[in-house]
């Protein structure tokens, strides 16, 4: 249990010092996962044998002085929409339930270079479409803080795995809040980088112009270390940007003096749970006490973000998901007559209802006669939202707000009303539309003991400013992360 209390960097340090072996670290995480999985269901694939094989190899390299990085030997988990060569990559969908890629995603490749041990692939909403991890073909993931509640989504498996101590850090992907919202629900740190910072090569696309891979970790220092490991300029991704500041850990500074922080009034009004509101304002106060200047302001166009997002993301998804047709890989229907019947049956049986809903929505907004009225208008709205942020960042260094309007809802309460579920993405979505970095940091709990996260939004390429503010907050408030020591205790809270 002692090992599980460590952050990734603390563990990495002890491995480097020879106090803990890589095998011991992997054993601890695997044991923990085996104990938690029957209830939590964070993993689609837990690769025990592979993890120990990697551990042995990495230990040798560490001993030989070939691997000296801060994350060497640390067990991590990867969201199941990132390709790993020869390993099941399902996107939590029936249609990819037998798919093993021929190559490894660039972000995962980068993380492997840093010497981590990949112990498994985590559960998610099918094709990252959903906010609760309930649309998975492999069943829902449960929130380790209270198993009657969802972990959020779509990176719910990754966030729950970190929260439950089933790994020491994980990768998620964020198209409209899929890292930041479940991080908020699970009480962990999650960061969506500026679009183009982490290569999308090997990330199974949902909304290509919005997707970004990012870290999910126990604390801010780990977050900076993971981001430093995965970010790179990748010529295989045309939207990848060549940055000159990949040294994200250099921003771990306890200092926000003079930092200008704006809280959008529209983020604190109607629809926001009072307890979340209180927690976010309390967090802002902490930053103010540490020397930041905190003000409220009008961001504008906030209410247009959701329709614009669901138009653009669904349109791109409807096209991105066309390749899943039963011809080349993945699930193919058992019986069919002719090509078109094979297509229809494969896709009808292979996709779940939320995915189908978005494919239909996306196909509709792109169809001739509707393109201008919906898709093009959404693109224009996206550009206007970006302008609103540009205006705000002329004055503010950081925009602060909640990551979600509420804490984690109970299981089974969200999917019946998709529109309401979509509205829950209000604070995260515009960040993707504007291509900006956003970060969730744990900021207390509600009266039911469910975590609340605050969201810090930065100007493009200002991850370091976010990390600095988050780190200062963490230093001021003490360790936020707590490993849910006893899963059975969490399960007891569940009202069935």
């Amino acid at each position: 249990m002692e090992i599980l209390e460590l952050t990734a960097l603390e563990l990495g340090k002890k491995i480097k010092a020879g106090e803990i072996t890589v095998k011991e670290a992997v054993q601890a995480a695997i044991d923990r996962a085996k104990e938690a999985e029957p209830v939590i269901n964070s993993y689609v694939t837990l690769d025990e044998a592979g993890a120990f094989a990697q551990a042995e190899e990495i230990q040798k390299k560490i001993d030989a002085g070939e691997l000296t990085g801060p994350l060497a030997g640390v067990p991590v988990a990867i969201k199941d929409n990132m390709c790993i060569k020869g390993q099941l990559t399902t996107c939590s969908s029936k249609i990819l339930s037998n798919f093993k890629p021929a190559y490894t995603a660039e972000a995962v490749e980068n993380l492997k270079k840093a010497g981590v041990v990949i112990i498994g692939k985590t559960n998610m909403d099918e094709f990252a479409m959903g906010s609760t991890t309930e649309t998975s073909y492999y069943g829902p993931t449960r929130n380790p803080h209270n198993t009657a509640h969802v972990p959020g989504g779509s990176s719910g498996g990754s966030c729950a795995a970190v929260a439950a101590g089933e790994c020491f850090g994980a990768l998620g992907s964020d198209t409209g809040g899929s890292i930041r919202q479940p991080s908020s629900f699970c009480g962990v740190v999650g960061l969506k980088p500026t679009y183009g910072t982490v290569s999308r090569y090997g990330l199974v696309a949902y909304g290509s112009s919005l997707d970004q891979i990012g870290p999910i970790t126990k604390d801010v220092s780990d977050c900076a270390a993971f981001l430093e490991a995965i970010a790179s300029h990748d010529p295989k991704d045309s939207t990848s940007i060549d940055r000159d500041d990949y040294d994200f850990t250099s921003a771990l500074e306890n200092n926000v003096k003079g930092l200008k922080i704006g809280i959008p009034k529209d983020y604190m009004g109607d629809g926001l749970d009072p307890e979340v509101r209180k927690a976010v304002l309390r967090a802002a106060k902490v930053l103010e006490e540490n020397g930041a200047v905190v003000e409220t302001f009008n961001l504008g166009l906030v209410k247009y973000a959701i329709p614009a997002y669901y138009t653009i993301a669904s349109a791109e998804a409807s096209s991105n998901l066309e390749r899943f047709d039963g011809v080349k890989y993945g699930y193919r229907t058992e019986e069919y007559e002719g090509l078109h019947n094979m297509y229809k049956k494969t896709r009808s049986e292979g996709f779940g209802p939320e995915v189908k809903r978005r494919i239909m929505l996306g196909s509709f907004v792109l169809s001739s006669g509707y393109y201008d009225a919906y898709y093009l208008k959404a693109l224009r709205t996206k550009a206007l939202i970006k302008k609103e942020f540009d205006k705000a960042f002329e004055y503010y260094d950081i925009i602060l707000g909640p990551a979600a309007p509420t804490t984690a809802p109970e299981l089974g309460k969200s999917l019946s009303d998709p529109l309401k579920m979509y509205l829950g993405d209000i604070y995260t979505i515009s960040v993707n539309l504007a291509g900006l970095p956003g970060m969730t940091v744990p900021a207390g709990k509600d009266e039911n003991g469910l975590p609340i996260g605050m969201q810090l939004i930065g100007n493009a390429f200002e991850e370091k400013t976010l990390i600095r503010a988050a780190y200062t907050y963490e230093c001021a408030t003490g360790k936020q992360y707590e490993t849910m020591a006893d899963i059975s205790k969490a399960a007891e809270k569940e009202v069935r």
Binding site: C83, Y103, S238, E322, R323, Y329
Partner: protein, 478 residues
């Protein structure tokens, strides 16, 4: 037919670019390899793979656009064209709809009534699809993705053509431009040049267009000409019968010389085009355009003028030789080596074109080297071989690219300059033909020809005719 009709034709031409690698990945574009050997996650549409644009494709497309007098779109983008078909691994094709690379150009063609401009509406870049192989015995279909992602430029003309002849002239012109630029080999048979024909008819003098059909699967100039004639007749017959032409896509069956309706406008697919989010816009600077322009090779009109001036060959010769870049290159290289333009031109326009016609070959199929032709010209000039032998040797050069020096040596074809051998042969001919000798001496000049012919035959054509003539005359006068 009581009324006069005019045919209105516009073309969509696909040209496969001769890049070494595919448009969005590093796989080879080589034709004819074992199935699925030139593939990777990108060109097989694997989940998570992303396209990266091949810069050479943009430069080739720009070169084509500039050569066809188009405006280059300086901020151009790719779009996705969505449709399900197994040869299309992503079930969308990356193409250009909203901002194609080039627009508003023209090419000039020669028609029976003089020169004519055919306007180019646009050119856009796109990726080719794979190939389906149907196994009829096993009731299965297989897909070969080697061609998937091979770069194409689609050239869309305005409806400016009025006959099959004009269409062929336009296609030949495009092919010549592409070949001159070195951007494509444009082989219709191999599919590196494909044309879809949009055709309508209207009463002569009418201002408005009739309803058009689109004809696909045309893979030779002959098929195109036949399809145009067939479709023109079909539409006229419909109109004469008081029926309507239906806007539809038709497929030409070259064996049956007949077209079939594939799909009508009503079931036309909605391709749901939208900007390709995986690629960034291409920004083309003035400098880049200037660079491509400067790199543009000499096109036919300039080459023609230069040949007339530099090589002092007649306009007619220059026209024939520059019709194909391959032939022009062969000619120029030969001249470079032997310095005899007129002789090189004669070999090309004479025996080369004759043999090509006999064997049904295209200029691209020529495989003999200019070194060997130049050597042959030099050998003939030096009298090493006779003109008759030279033509025989050339056939060997043409088919197997033999080295004429070696070939002549090995086959004992050298001109006989040995006076003794000539004398011996002539003596025998004169002895065997006393009548001819008597005729000649009696004043019949014609008899000399017979003696000459027989002497050359006896020498197997290898002797210098001048030397043989001299010998016969000497001996007859003795």
């Amino acid at each position: 037919m009581s009324k006069q009709y005019e045919t209105v034709i516009g073309l969509e031409v696909h040209i496969e670019l001769a890049t070494k690698t595919k448009i969005f990945c590093g796989c080879s574009t080589e034709f004819g390899s074992a199935p699925n050997t030139h593939t990777c996650p990108v060109c097989t549409g694997m989940p998570g793979s992303l396209p990266v644009l091949n810069k050479q494709v943009v430069e080739y497309a720009m070169a084509l656009g500039l050569a066809a007098n188009c405006k280059i779109t300086q901020v151009c983008k790719f779009d996705r064209k969505n449709y399900f078909y197994p040869d299309n691994p992503q079930n969308y094709q990356i193409s250009q709809l909203y901002l194609p690379i080039a627009r508003d150009g023209y090419v000039e063609i020669d028609t029976q009534t003089g020169k004519k401009k055919v306007r180019i509406h646009e050119m856009h870049m796109e990726e080719d699809a794979g190939k389906l192989v149907h196994d009829e015995w096993d009731d299965t279909s297989l897909v070969d993705y080697n061609r998937s992602g091979v770069p194409l430029v689609e050239i869309v003309s305005e409806p400016d053509m009025r006959s099959a002849d004009e269409v062929i002239a336009y296609l030949e012109k495009l092919r010549m431009i592409a070949q001159y630029l070195g951007v494509s080999d444009c082989k219709l048979q191999e599919g590196s040049m494909r044309a879809d024909v949009n055709l309508s008819v209207r009463e002569a003098g009418s201002e408005t267009f009739g309803t058009r059909t689109e004809m696909k699967n045309l893979n030779s100039f002959k098929a195109i000409a036949h399809a145009i004639e067939g479709e023109r007749q079909r539409q006229i017959e419909l109109l004469e019968e008081g029926k309507e032409v239906i806007q539809e896509t038709r497929r030409w069956d070259d064996n049956k010389e007949h077209s079939y309706a594939m799909r009508s406008k009503e079931d036309a697919q909605d391709y749901r085009y939208f900007p390709e989010p995986d690629l960034v816009p291409i920004v083309i600077s003035d400098e880049w355009i200037a660079k491509i322009k400067a790199r543009q090779p000499e096109l036919r009109p300039e080459k023609l003028e230069r040949y007339k001036k530099e090589f002092d060959i007649p306009e007619y010769d220059a026209e024939l030789i520059t019709e194909s870049k391959k032939v022009a290159d062969l000619f120029e290289a030969t001249v470079e080596l032997c310095g005899k333009p007129k002789k090189a031109a004669n070999w090309i326009m004479g025996d080369t074109f004759r043999l090509m016609k006999e064997k049904g070959m295209e200029p691209e199929d020529l495989k003999f080297s200019p070194e060997h032709l130049a050597k042959l010209i030099d050998m003939t000039d030096a009298g090493t071989i006779s003109a008759a032998v030279a033509r025989k040797v050339f056939e060997q050069i043409f088919t197997d690219d033999v080295d004429p020096e070696k070939y002549v040596e090995e086959n004992g074809l050298k001109t006989v300059n040995d006076e003794g051998a000539i004398k011996e042969a002539v003596e025998k001919v004169l002895a065997d033909n006393p009548q001819a000798v008597a005729d000649y001496k009696g004043g019949k000049q014609k008899a000399f020809g017979a003696l000459m012919g027989q002497s050359m035959r006896a020498l197997k054509g290898k002797a210098d005719p001048a030397a043989v003539t001299k010998m016969i005359k000497e001996m007859l006068e003795q």
